[in-house]
Symmetry: C2
Subunit: 306 residues, 2 copies
Amino acid sequence: MAGPMVELPGFQDHLAEIATETDQLLGEILTPPTDAAPGEARLWEAMRYATLGAGKRLRACLAVEGAEMLGVPRARALRAAAAVECLHAYSLVHDDLPAMDDDDLRRGKPTTHRAFDDATAILAGDALQTLAFEILADPATHKDGAARAELCHALAKAAGAPGMVGGQMIDIAAETAKTPFDLAVITRLQAMKTGALIRFAAESGAILARDQSAREALALYARHLGLAFQIRDDLLDVEGDVEAMGKQVRKDAEAGKATFVSELGIEGARKAAARERDSAIAALASFGPAARRLREAAEFAIQRQS
Amino acid sequence: MAGPMVELPGFQDHLAEIATETDQLLGEILTPPTDAAPGEARLWEAMRYATLGAGKRLRACLAVEGAEMLGVPRARALRAAAAVECLHAYSLVHDDLPAMDDDDLRRGKPTTHRAFDDATAILAGDALQTLAFEILADPATHKDGAARAELCHALAKAAGAPGMVGGQMIDIAAETAKTPFDLAVITRLQAMKTGALIRFAAESGAILARDQSAREALALYARHLGLAFQIRDDLLDVEGDVEAMGKQVRKDAEAGKATFVSELGIEGARKAAARERDSAIAALASFGPAARRLREAAEFAIQRQS
């Protein structure tokens, strides 16, 4: 397998810890009502299936580390992390549907619509999106209503038509485009489809801390990190294997879709990813040593094997 | 056609006015970015198609009238109305999908997935849900962050697994149930599937007014109004025709599904609807003459022909 070996075991252990804590909170939140009627239990089961015990939790990590760096209590940071992971899980469930990418495998197990059925997957995704906002708006997330409202507002802008969903529509258009999209459109696509939610995750700690200048620095960091992450994704689509990735690979190349790799070549894409990592790390300068884990996250984004 | 004639022309004109104002705001909000990439324009077009120029706007009316009664500025009330209509529109788009009810007709025109395609309909629905929260969390909706956060929290509880989506799952379970559900489960189903969002609409004015006792009275009003509305829906499914309804009729009876009509009979259902209307109106007692339009809305819920 091509690509450098992962050299950040300390960071990966740390990521695993945050994943465990986030999963624990999500497990509590995703508890069905005791008086559930027929059908309801299946919905909660599908929501748990799509959300728990899988995924790298990179977004949760960005939320928790940004918050930690700014002195936000862990319990609040974990709620933002849980919300962003619900939102991310919903997007994967819907992306995998037969009407969309029609994928059978996700995070190393059958996709939600394969494990349940299409209707349940649509509704579980819908309810996971709603849950993300319910978690953020809950008084447990912050005592200041303005902070909760701003979290909801920022997540909505990141997740909706101006962000993730809009990016997904560009991605669908890319599949049927007569001429492949140029680098400017690919960059916009990725900034919307994956970048916006990564940015929200990174900013959430600063929103919880009510620190506008930290928020701007973290937004800049996240913009570069998101691009680094996506370029690595395109490289893994070419270089990775199904087992390590837990999902189908070489889909983009087979579909003749323009990616960072098709536009820049493998070496060019690697260099571009490294440049984005450097810019991400540079954006953290004002935070000093406290930003160590966020620097490692930028390194991880371009070294990861899955 | 059976059923009494609508005797509330004044109310219907009023409803039409609120519909026009809500549509105007939604039309402004649903403006695509000027630098949209391929695919994005189609998303916004589908969102507009699913949301604008159709529907009774009963939910918008409840939001606007509740707010008006409590002295909330019209501009704020219309934002809550727009949010609840986005949420409602998303739920219809997803309910109509082939994997769900597989309907071709909605509000007198082709369903969104028929007019566009399944993937676009899924994503337009997703983005409309997000937009509902974006509208509520925006500082334009209320200067007090706590009010915005509470609107988001209440909408999330109404729309997600504990509310609308959970109710939809019970409804799907009803279609394959070996024995039809009893009245208790049907009531729970409807309270979740349609009642929760109607209740949010009615409560939103009190949330904007920061008036907890008004909120409780409006919640009680809405619980009864929602049931009245749903019983009327079941009656219309039996008595209505496609042209007036703008959607397929007699689906429940053909599917052998338990409804208020199958459980109570036509006369029993009419009486139950009237009782719910009376209870809804009784819940408004403390508001005096200011609640006139909300009383008319309860009357409209059981008299409407579509």
